[in-house]
């Protein structure tokens, strides 16, 4: 029987993969993509919890919708930022962005 745990573990795995990507990747867009993976992981959680813990109300789905909306906004701003920084530096590699000491 597939239960809540299975779905939460799926979410956790996706989350971990995204986290790894954020740390290991150097292309700013790739990092943004990794973050999207993490947000998707969260959505899997929300929908699964909605299904198994609270099937009558749709709070989890609602939360997931908000996450999706916000993620869309975040990505659009993020990509605009990346394009604007690319215009200045001709690079999207994070290692090149070290005008300030870290």
């Amino acid at each position: 029987m597939i239960g809540l745990n299975h779905y939460l573990l799926l979410g956790t795995a996706l989350f971990g993969i995204g986290l790894y990507g954020v740390f290991a990747k150097r292309n700013a867009i790739a990092i943004l993509m990794s973050v999207e993976l993490m947000l998707n992981a969260v959505n899997v959680n929300f929908v699964a919890i909605n299904r198994f813990v609270q099937p009558a109300a749709s709070l989890g789905q609602l939360f997931a919708i908000f996450v999706i909306v916000v993620a869309a906004a975040e990505v659009s701003v993020g990509l605009a930022l990346i394009i604007s920084i690319y215009r200045q530096r001709r690079s999207v590699n994070l290692d090149d962005f070290n005008l300030m000491k870290w």
Partner: protein, 170 residues
């Protein structure tokens, strides 16, 4: 192994493989395409969970818009040699640290989730009119968040235009 498990395993296997491809591919375009597959996998998960509307939202927004935007941006900032567009960090420390951290988080959360006994509610019938229920919530108790999200989208549009145009004249 019954059908339920088979479907779950297939979908999650597909999703996780696609997600791994996102972070392992050295070619950013392939990463992005793998990301689309991940999105579709998550959408399938939603369908499997009886959240059809959400699955479709997932496809529409993530696969149809977000992923396309990402690919679009990739093409605007593309380098000639696609095989090196998505490097992993050259610093081994950061790389291993990232991997280690990810493993720790996965194992830690996995254990935490595994050892938890959830409120023992039966997985009851799925609400058929999810859209209606969501609409009630959105325009009822969560109307503030709804309005804020609307402003957020406006803000994102204006902000993205401003940033992408940079210092050029409007």
């Amino acid at each position: 192994m019954n059908l339920d498990q088979l479907v779950f395993l297939a979908i999650s296997g597909f999703t996780i493989t696609a997600a791994l491809a996102v972070v392992w591919s050295r070619n950013i375009v392939r990463s992005a395409l793998a990301l689309i597959l991940t999105f579709l996998g998550v959408a399938l998960t939603f369908f499997n969970l009886g959240a059809g509307f959400l699955g479709l939202v997932q496809i529409l927004v993530y696969a149809g818009a977000v992923a396309v935007l990402i690919i679009f941006a990739i093409m605007l900032v593309m380098k000639p040699d696609p095989g090196t567009t998505n490097p992993t960090t050259p610093s081994r420390d950061t790389h291993y640290l990232g991997g280690l951290l990810a493993w720790l988080v996965v194992i830690g959360l996995g254990l935490a989730i595994g050892f938890t006994t959830w409120p023992s509610l039966p997985a009851g019938p799925v609400d058929d009119d999810a859209v209606g229920a969501l609409a009630q919530l959105l325009l009822g108790n969560y109307v503030v968040a709804f309005e804020a999200a609307a402003i957020l989208l406006l803000l994102a549009v204006v902000g993205a235009i401003i940033l992408a145009k940079g210092a050029d004249k409007i």
